[in-house]
Symmetry: C2
Subunit: 430 residues, 2 copies
């Protein structure tokens, strides 16, 4: 029976909003936001969209008016009572009251600041300027909107059953990965796929399929809204933007060299346990670990997000050994360009030597490769990064020169300050 009122209601929407909640974002964004709110609240930053896949002509695929409508809709969002209650009341990694009353009060009245959008050739220039804790919350919804609008542009031409078969194929593809992964019952995997997901509904499906198919091996999702709706654990710690902005704020080379550790000193004060995860690659993992203060070796684990993952894990294991720590008590989280075969390979390589976990991103929530003619739904490499802080440009090196970002002279300066030598280049898939 058709629910007539629902149908009429649905027709009243001017648009089909892609992002419908401020907590449809990665959990670590909120953790970092609280840290920034406490430590660097007045820092003025600019975030900018960067399409590393120039062969995807976003401005030809996506109508500018539609993009503006979606972004405007996100600016109209505020935290709902239920979302606030969930953030205030939830237990994250066994800890209650992760978010302070001061932060929650601020968050409840926060609205996302204005955006600047301009078409430049076949790409969009999309930037966000303002105070760091506000601007940083644009990253995930901006990426999700662009990824999903690009998908809709492709789906627009397809027939009803063609669409159903497209999703049938995508479901089958994911389920085959799940069947492959569950042959390793000790595996631990989380969904990290919000930012470059095919769509919200598809991510939600993927998470539920993982839950049924993997059981205890599926430990949670980085997406707060899905975690809330599906009664799952929200997963995440911190990301490159913290050291990037701290570094840009450094007044000289000496404080630049100290910046990545300052970030973690602030973090150390605020967090414990599973939230104490080192992300060492912003300016080269090797130098970072070599110069790290001893208290960092006491942290719970390391997240490997660029470079060859097995090499990164070996570097981490050796570092712990050198600092007198038992790697078998430590956690390595792999989160860069993973697919299920790589996950199993890394798991088999490191199980027993270190605790291993996986943050599975784009190839979990957006693996539409090979499912359409010309592969027009294949995921691509879109990021939204802090490009300046209080007027100074930011720099990222990572363990893969293909992921480096920033003005050329500054990249050279950072390489010198952080002692980064030759790096092996890796293809950036997603």
């Amino acid at each position: 029976m058709v629910d007539i009122a629902t149908r009429v209601w649905n027709h009243k929407w001017k648009i089909d909003p892609i992002v419908r909640s401020l907590i449809d974002t990665d959990f670590y964004k909120l953790l970092m936001c609280q840290s920034v709110f406490r430590n660097k609240r007045d820092t003025q930053v600019t975030f900018s969209l960067i399409n590393r896949s120039q062969q995807v002509p976003l401005a030809r695929l996506i109508d500018e008016g539609e993009l503006r409508e979606q972004l405007d809709h996100i600016r109209s969002l505020s935290l709902t009572r239920g979302e606030s209650t969930w953030l205030r009341g939830n237990t994250f990694y066994g800890k209650r009251q992760m978010f302070t009353p001061e932060f929650m009060e601020w968050f409840e009245s926060m609205r996302l600041p204005a955006y600047h959008l301009e078409r430049v050739g076949d790409q969009y220039e999309l930037t966000f300027e303002g105070s760091w804790p506000e601007v940083m919350l644009w990253e995930i919804p901006a990426l999700a909107v662009l990824m999903e609008l690009r998908g809709r542009a492709v789906l627009n031409d397809m027939g009803r059953f063609e669409l159903q078969v497209l999703y049938a194929r995508a479901m089958t593809k994911l389920w085959e990965k799940v069947e492959h992964l569950r042959q390793q019952p000790q595996l631990r995997i989380a969904d990290f796929g919000t930012r470059r997901r095919h769509s919200f509904l598809w991510q939600d499906w993927c998470v539920q399929a993982m839950l049924e198919g993997l059981g205890d091996s599926f430990v949670g999702t980085s997406n707060c809204l899905i975690a809330k709706n599906r009664d799952l654990e929200a997963i995440g710690t911190n990301a490159h933007e913290l050291p990037m902005v701290y570094a840009a704020l450094a007044r000289d080379d000496e404080s630049l060299a100290r910046a990545p550790y300052d970030v973690l000193a602030d973090w150390h004060e605020e967090h414990e346990g599973n939230l104490r995860i080192i992300l060492p690659d912003t300016y080269g993992t090797e130098g970072f670990l070599k110069n790290a203060p001893d208290w960092l070796a006491g942290w719970t684990g390391i997240r490997i997000d660029s470079g060859d993952p097995a090499t990164g894990a070996e570097v981490a294991i050796n570092w712990w050994k050198n600092r007198g720590e038992d790697p078998r008590q430590k956690l390595v989280i792999f989160s860069d360009g993973l697919d299920e075969a790589k996950i199993i390979e890394l798991y088999e390589q490191f199980k027993g030597r270190v605790r291993v976990s996986f943050g599975w991103g784009t190839l979990l929530t957006n693996d539409f490769r090979g499912l359409t003619a010309d592969d027009r739904l294949a995921p691509f490499s879109l990021v939204c990064k802090a490009v300046s802080a209080n007027g100074a440009p930011t720099v990222k090196l990572s363990d893969n020169p293909n992921k480096a970002m920033g003005p050329k002279d500054q990249i050279e300066r950072y390489k010198r300050v952080f002692g980064v030598g030759e790096q092996a280049a890796q293809d950036v898939i997603v």
Copy 2:
């Protein structure tokens, strides 16, 4: 928004009925029923379920109580006003008023007669006795109920997403066949898959997918209810039960030899055009055509339903040539054990030499092969046939000795009367 009333209503059903309409049946059943109603109304027949796939233990898989509930539900059905209107008013192959007022009046008050059900070992003995025009209408719903209950028994153990992926895989599998078939835009295919379908909803999906994917190449469905609901042409002509019962009623060898032609003489009076399709294999195609009266060569086409299909088509073409007919004006309908590769092969072999059409059955509406562990959803060979008429046993020989049916001595007698020699055996897939 949940439609509460609908949900409560759905919970009030004692069972989830598999067959919900008397026209959820093959169109040729109704055509034959009208012919029987006119010519052999008082013939007493017995129809019986025969599971050719003894390895499928139906009585262990299907609860007897559930089976009875489904069969009882079918006995409660009567033709609805809309169904009657559709049958009375529709155009079939361009002809209006296919069904006479007398037949419709009878059909509107018809209820299916009692059934006899008994468990024998791991199988069910299911028989129907009574007047021919009533009993014959049990065939399709009885088969559909048993096929779907067996499917439900397997699906019962599966998780929610596992189920969704099962159907995703089945959709993908069918769509790949559709993509293969549409490379031949001149192909003409109809759905003949009611009797051994996976389920009603699945057949309905398959028909709609064919409609979108194949466009004009999809010419209709044998299922009257789906044809009505989806605004399609209902397809079909006649089947083996007519010559089988006519033959069983023959009093001596001479009238036995004439029986298959008597059937078609009655049919000839009642039908024209696309409904004049010869089904020649009941007692061997070769002898049937050799002894056929000349007026039969004027019929529109021949349906090939057993034996090697290419051989059967060649026999038909040669017969038309020998009778002075132009095969290019004639229609060959292939309908036995087809899958998409075989369809394309036969199409390429015969296009230009004869008009070709395909009645695609079980591997359209029930190809779940390879989709579950142990292949427990693979289709199997279940039939429901007339086994006696006015006390005399029926016999079927067909062009494949593996499809022969009837008492041994009668099979020998029929072979003698119809001059059937050695036959090549073919595996019966479905």
